[in-house]
């Protein structure tokens, strides 16, 4: 299984917006990330691929502050930063669609869409923000717009509890929440896994739009077609370690699949 490495590109090709180096993560006895390097630039879609259990979601959670890593460095525009919890990540402009969606089933669609960033009514300056009256009509309006944009036609009401929604409807809400917020980095962990054909189309368009508006986008998927449609570069993880990073235009699906499942036989791995 020998592989030509000339199609791989150095990760430093475009100036990275978000970059991490040497990320380590262990769960009890499981060594999930073994010194992983990763980066994404503004105006590019970086695909992150790998076999099941390769460590993709773990890496995303570390970047989003949902998991604290055991070692590694974070840089935004090459400035070192600290991301120790999701709040930090949000403040640095990082938004994420988690693979497990992270919705609150007991709340309705509108509430989930603005979770953690609820709009409040204006005109209560004497109250601290967290005690001002919620602007729930504004929340509904926003939610309706977001859902309509993703063409989830079967969702009857933004006042429905998320606990009663179908798999695809839920995923659409998680996506709408992340892409609706002000940010510079958007990471999507298998965002179209439960989506229908039309909805998947919309999400891919949204991803492209985000790229065109100068966002840094990380896109995780097992669907090679989608990957090759939207991504600019592809980063492959295997058993919690970098394999390599390719320019999408200079590689093929087959090559990526081989790299995911078997790795590179030759040692030249410019991402390590």
């Amino acid at each position: 299984m020998s592989l030509e490495n000339n199609q791989q590109v150095g990760p430093s090709a475009p100036p990275p917006h978000l970059r991490v180096a040497g990320i380590e993560k262990r769960f009890g006895g499981v060594h999930a990330l073994k010194g992983v390097d990763f980066e994404v630039a503004r105006g590019e879609v970086m695909a992150l691929v790998g076999d099941n259990g390769a460590g993709k979601s773990t890496l995303m959670k570390v970047l989003a502050g949902a998991l604290v890593c055991d070692g590694g460095d974070f840089f935004i525009d090459e400035e070192p930063v600290v991301i120790s919890n999701p709040h930090d990540a949000g403040a640095l402009g990082i938004q994420i669609v988690y693979q497990d969606l992270a919705l609150c089933e007991n709340l309705d669609v509108a509430a989930n869409l603005s979770l953690g960033a609820e709009p409040v009514k204006s005109g209560w300056p004497f109250l601290p923000r967290f005690l001002r009256p919620l602007d729930d009509l504004e929340m509904e309006v926003r939610a309706k717009a977001a859902i309509d944009r993703l063409q989830v036609r079967t969702l009857r009401s933004v006042r429905a509890k998320v606990g009663g929604l179908s798999g695809g409807q839920r995923q659409a809400i998680a996506i709408a929440r992340a892409v609706g917020a002000e940010c510079s980095v958007v990471m999507l962990d298998e965002p179209t896994a439960a989506l229908g054909v039309a909805q998947t189309r919309q999400v891919l368009d949204v991803v492209k739009r985000l790229r065109d508006t100068g966002h840094a986008v990380v896109y995780i998927s097992h669907n090679m077609r989608d990957i090759f449609e939207v991504s600019d570069r592809i980063c492959v993880l295997r058993h919690g370690a970098n394999v390599a990073t390719w320019k999408t235009s200079e590689t093929t699906a087959d090559e990526i699949v081989v790299a995911m499942t078997a790795g590179l036989d030759s040692g030249t791995n410019n991402a390590a």
Partner: protein, 407 residues
């Protein structure tokens, strides 16, 4: 997003239960069952079975007894409102009654030392917040389960109460403190206040509906809208008129309603309240959207501490004294948690309402009140109260639309 237009009446009923108002229905049914039992069934049965009895007396439903019932349930209700807040988070507080006891004892000692009543009340409320928040800190930052922390709090605060009250009890004569339970709102004022309240609610509902229309959002049907306003008006006026028929509306009840309204508003209509529900529904999701889950826990325990302190003040005012057993030693703790749970708040978090806790407290209060009127033996009373409670709650459970079988 086109609404489905083919609704059967059953669908409508089920939808109704999903509305804000609908969540009252179950516990109202339970309360109604108990009131019918004590208020109508029992007197009628007594009358028929005893041929000597001259006339039927419906004592339980008399304005005077309803007045008593409200006053008797006030302390439980106050604590239950606070406990609901932590239950919504998926936590529990076993120390609320003991906190109320410490605060009441402290209040007694402070006014005895000559501190003016209003100042003592403020001090005691601050102390309650600190007692609650201290436990919240241990739960949130050290990571000990709330059951264990508040069990330790229960023990510790019981001890503290004994320390403050070495003699076990203390008379409270301070006119300010006593006034809380004694002052009555003149009949007319009570009615005017009720009327203004209902008008305000109606106006708000109308404005909201207009705004929804303007923004192109789904509208409530007019039936739902006016139904809710009418329902609210009936409850408010029934309560005021009943109390006026005996004496007048007591200040204590107005205070309780006001406190509940504030906590209710915070819990449903502010970002903080939303975060309580989010943490209770899925703490990890809440954390991942950047909520400070720990701080929310600490604040929630601070709130339960505050309400425990208020409960302690209410109790001290109503009992005219502070005693160990009335707060720390007795059944107040389980009754308050029970009131919250009977009100429909889940022990698993994320589901419930503080208003329902008040109704739950009335359910619990009605048991003791009604049975004490019946003159049964202590053993019979306990057994009956268990049975009636079950029956009342079973009516609710059975009237619910069939679930999935597993919780």
């Amino acid at each position: 997003m086109q609404p489905d237009t083919s609704f059967s009446p059953i669908d409508r009923l089920r939808r109704m239960r999903e509305t804000r108002l609908g969540s009252f229905v179950p516990v109202l049914l339970a309360l109604a069952a108990i009131w019918v039992y004590f208020g109508l069934a029992l007197p009628l049965w007594d009358f028929w079975s005893d041929p000597d009895a001259g006339s039927i007396r419906f004592i339980f439903l008399s304005p005077r007894n309803i007045y008593n019932l409200f006053m008797q349930s006030a302390v439980i209700a106050t604590l239950a409102v606070g406990i609901t807040v932590v239950l919504l988070l998926g936590e529990i507080d076993l120390s609320a009654a003991a906190t109320a006891g410490v605060c009441a004892a402290l209040l007694g000692v402070l006014v005895l030392a000559g501190i003016p009543g209003w100042a003592a009340c403020l001090i005691v409320m601050a102390v309650g917040v600190i007692m609650g928040a201290a436990q919240g800190l241990l739960i949130a930052y050290v990571g000990i389960p709330s059951f264990v922390v508040t069990l330790a709090g229960l023990l510790g605060y019981q001890g503290l109460m004994q320390k403050i009250l070495p003699t076990g009890n203390l008379n409270i004569g301070d006119p300010f403190v006593r006034a809380i339970a004694r002052i009555l709102i003149p009949d007319l004022w009570g009615l005017v206040m009720a009327g203004l309240l209902v008008l305000a609610i109606a106006a708000l509902a109308l404005r909201r509906q207009a705004e929804r229309k303007a923004r192109g959002l789904e509208l409530d049907t007019n039936a739902t809208l006016w139904g809710q306003v009418a329902f609210f008006a009936i409850i408010v006026f029934a309560a005021v008129l009943t109390m006026n028929a005996y004496r007048s509306v007591p200040l204590l009840i107005i205070l309780l309603t006001g406190v509940t309204a504030i906590v209710g508003w915070v819990s449903t209509s502010t970002p903080f309240g939303r975060s309580i529900f989010a943490v209770g529904g899925n703490a990890e999701s809440a954390r991942r959207v950047g909520m400070n889950v720990r701080r929310i826990r600490v604040v929630a325990f601070g709130i339960v501490g505050l309400l425990a302190a208020i409960g302690g003040i209410f109790g001290a005012s109503r009992y005219g004294s502070v005693s160990y057993t009335a707060f720390a030693g007795g059944s107040l703790l389980l009754e308050s948690i029970g009131a919250a749970v009977i009100g429909g708040t889940s022990l698993f978090g994320g589901r419930g309402s503080v208003w329902n806790a008040i109704l739950g407290a009335l359910v619990i209060g009605s048991l003791g009140n009604g049975l004490d009127l019946s003159g049964a033996s202590a053993a019979d009373k306990l057994m009956f109260s268990g049975a009636i409670l079950l029956l009342a709650v079973a009516i609710d459970a059975l009237s619910r639309p069939a679930g999935n079988g597993a919780r």
